[in-house]
Amino acid sequence: MASHYEAPIRRPLVTGEKSYHDVTLDVVAPVEGKANKQWWIVFSIALAAFGWGLGCMIYTISTGIGTWGLNKTVGWAWDITNFVWWVGIGHAGTLISAVLLLFRQKWRMAINRSAEAMTIFSVIQAGLFPIIHMGRPWLAYWVLPIPNQFGSLWVNFNSPLLWDVFAISTYLSVSLVFWWTGLLPDFAMIRDRAIKPFQKKIYGILSFGWSGRAKDWQRFEEVSLVLAGLATPLVLSVHTIVSFDFATSVIPGWHTTIFPPYFVAGAIFSGFAMVNTLLIIMRKVCNLENYITVQHIELMNIVIMITGSIVGVAYITELFIAWYSGVEYEQYAFLNRATGPYWWAYWAMMSCNVFSPQFMWFKKLRTSIMFSFIISIVVNIGMWFERFVIIVTSLHRDYLPSSWTMFSPTFVDIGIFIGTIGFFFVLSKRRNFYPRKISKAEVKTILKSSGDNYKKLREDAHE
């Protein structure tokens, strides 16, 4: 067992004295079992919200963008706020599975599969907003590089909005294959356990005939490593490019070079918070407390604390640079943010994003499940307000005071946003399809080094 040595000071990542077979049973239980009442309640609410959002989308597309609260001065508001918010949330999955893989953080194993799934689902939500905002979504293919005679001119490769198209679609498709490739062995496990012929057939198709040969595993590991190496700069590039949508403009409050790192930190921050929200529910509902331990939650909280502090530094840097630049438009934009008519949004952002994560310095608080859950929600509210503050407060008082105005959302704006939250939870909470919770193959590889029974065995042998 010498090859599985891990420093005794490291706490076990898998508790409950699990063997390889126990991992199989625990992981497939939610797939093979029946849904309980609680699940049906949550699922129905999510489905209802999704239905409502779908109605609002249809209303928008059939009537026009005039159904939203946008006006001549504020031409971008909730749609892009929601877009950036969802893209940000979508960063955590790749970050957990790719960056933590490169840093060889074993605690990622239990949470990466669900985080990757979350990434894909939230990027889908994000992608909806630009498409709806096009007004004529059936012409969405005009964003592709297609020749002039198909309708519009060639796409403009100087535009950050087009960079976004390439970044988001690359990110979505690469995350999808990363996730699917990682799922193949898990699908194969369910296939081989399945008793009903139909189930066996379905999982047989999904598993692509995975057999687990030594050569397949060798390639599998290499592919995972290279994909992680590619996904790491990719995930950073995606939010960098999203921030270019603003940073390359000449609007005071947007035209700042700090945007790329600031947006990326914010994305990690909100993404980890959303992962925490989902995991805390999931470990309870699916009885996975032995795999997603308090230690996992604590480590997530530490990441939230650090990225929240980075975001805080960015906010303060922005204020300082606005003052230091000597540009009065820039100075006014920031003064207006903090003290103007949208002061409440600014201070909601400040208190949720900068102050609330500081509680995580206390071990008692960051190891409290209930407290972590509350903070994870607060952080996501704060990050939504961050995007709202950046977008709306920079626009609503432009260079011409006669056009100064306010933005208020209509029920359609709100409905579509709620609809995407519903859609996200519908996707996250559906059952009986794939073992989205935990990657069994990966948990099994760390069992001997980080399982509590194996750790104990080694300790006994040592004495």
């Binding site: 390889y20 001119l153 687990g212």
Partner: protein, 175 residues
């Protein structure tokens, strides 16, 4: 030459790794090993060549970069130059800073997707492909070694027993 193979089943990855080394030391030919998760060091112990898929990924990335440059040069410079914010539109290299994001994205796109497709093809993974693991338990918690039966089946069986195999069966290999 007999087509017979022995299937030795193990229930522990360390035992399996040790057994692979023993069997190879005994000059037997290991046809295949099926495991439920990646066992580190197994490929080396079996004497498998390192995979070259990472080199391919690099080449695919270079192809993606080339495609991006050629595409944007044709669209923005050759076919339909436009004055966009006064940016230089008659020279690729002068307009290049604006093209960097897409050059990067296309590199990643090509490298990732073509590598995964290559992996699926080389490892014969696609929908409707029949699984080939001999017993279903090898995706759960069992490890199976397939060894070609040489001249002496008894001796091989004894060796496998000694290495800790919990079950040994003789199979006729169809090819």
């Amino acid at each position: 030459m007999s087509n017979k193979v022995l299937h030795a089943v193990y229930d522990d990855d360390d035992t399996l790794l040790h057994a692979v080394k023993e069997v190879r030391a005994g000059h037997y030919h290991i046809e295949e090993v099926f495991t439920p998760f990646p066992v580190h060091g197994l490929d080396k112990a079996m004497g498998l060549e390192p995979t070259r898929i990472a080199i391919l990924a690099f080449i695919y990335g270079c192809i993606g970069l080339t495609v991006a440059v050629l595409m944007m040069n044709f669209i923005m410079i050759e076919d339909w130059p436009q004055d966009i914010g006064g940016k230089p539109s008659f020279s690729y290299i002068e307009n290049m800073p604006a093209f960097v994001p897409i050059m990067f994205e296309m590199t990643v796109f090509f490298a990732a997707h073509l590598m995964v497709i290559t992996f699926y093809l080389r490892s014969k993974l696609w929908p409707f492909k029949e699984a080939e693991n001999p017993i279903p338990a090898t995706t759960d918690d069992k490890f199976l070694m397939e060894v070609a039966v040489g001249s002496d089946q008894k001796k091989l069986t004894a060796l496998l027993k000694k290495t800790g195999a919990i079950d040994i069966t003789v199979q006729e290999k169809q090819e």
